[in-house]
Symmetry: C2
Subunit: 203 residues, 2 copies
């Protein structure tokens, strides 16, 4: 039996999350001109997960990981994007995002809202193999875009080497292979060529 | 053993598909201002599949369906988007897209390139439950956006009722529930309010 009331709730959610396409990020696309948005970022990471799952430190449930990545930024529809290096914004980020999660997931039928919200909580808690690998994707993907645009966003924000390492302190938890590659070929390369400011000798 | 050559091929593909974010479509986002791009469209349909799989006519492998949807428009990175109602463009679409598929999937390690290309072929052939449901999503998603923007793209393109039915002739194959809902609540409603031109009495 088709339950129209249930279907209308699902549709209302599907319409509401369209706003994720309007949430801008700080990374430039590979054209070096357009800033990426959250939906594009999630799409990219979902395909990356299909291709790079073989490098996960622990076996992952790929569907669960992809679903987590597809939805993990939906809270930003209400809470806004908090830039990885925005220390002020990060102070209130958790509270803003928890309220946003309650609001957006309550649009869905209860079973589905609870499921998606639980995936978001799992991502935030960083305890499961899927959450760890999803975080690896979430940190690795902007490194790829930054490197491909000769560090445009890094240079605009005068990003320091120590900030990048702090941001990536959990990247190895999902995949030590990807972290080893990224550290040498994406981060240190861009420190050497000046796209990331080398503050390793500042104390 | 980490195979750096393999990883570099995967990365080259991941960088190349970034261009999908620059492939414009003819649907407006729910803000009624911005035209959607292929990556946003794919992201939206992937989440829709997680939420709406219960309406599939036949059981579907959700991971396979999502992967198919995430990658099915990648050929447009080289072949461009062909609007659903562009009859001239559609004459050369299959040939342009087949060449594009060979080109883009050959960037990947052979096993992964063959797998993703096979998913694209499966989508195009429309024989499996996953391909049918993916097509249902591919037709249903722009109906939602068009309806949410008071038919803005329909009106700009002077879209006729018969065109929408022709475009949706396979939508019921993946889900008769979704098609029944869409026909009455998204299509016929917009014929009645004039957003879609009623040509049902023209012969």
């Amino acid at each position: 039996m088709f339950d129209q009331e249930r279907f209308e709730k699902q549709l209302a959610f599907i319409r509401e999350i369209d706003k994720e396409k309007m949430i801008g990020r700080q990374s430039y696309l590979t054209d070096g001109k357009t800033l990426e948005n959250d939906a594009e970022h999630a799409w990219h990471m979902a395909i990356m997960t299909v291709l790079l799952k073989e490098y996960a430190n622990e076996d992952i449930d790929v569907l669960k990981t992809i679903t987590m990545l597809l939805i993990h930024d939906l809270v930003e529809v209400y809470a806004g994007d908090t830039y990885a290096y925005d220390e002020e914004g990060k102070k209130t980020q958790a509270e803003r995002e928890a309220k946003a999660a309650d609001r957006i997931y309550s649009i869905l039928p209860e079973d589905q809202g609870e499921y998606l919200k639980s995936l978001w909580v799992e991502f935030e808690e960083q305890k499961t193999p899927e959450a760890k690998f999803a975080r690896t994707m979430d940190c690795f993907q902007p490194l790829i875009l930054n490197d491909a645009t000769n560090g445009k966003a890094w240079k605009e924000h005068e990003v320091r080497r120590s900030w990048v390492y702090k941001r990536n302190q959990t990247t190895a938890n999902g995949s030590s292979d990807i972290w080893d590659y990224a550290r040498e070929n994406l981060i240190e390369k861009n420190v050497r060529n000046g796209n990331i400011i080398d503050d390793s000798k500042d104390q």
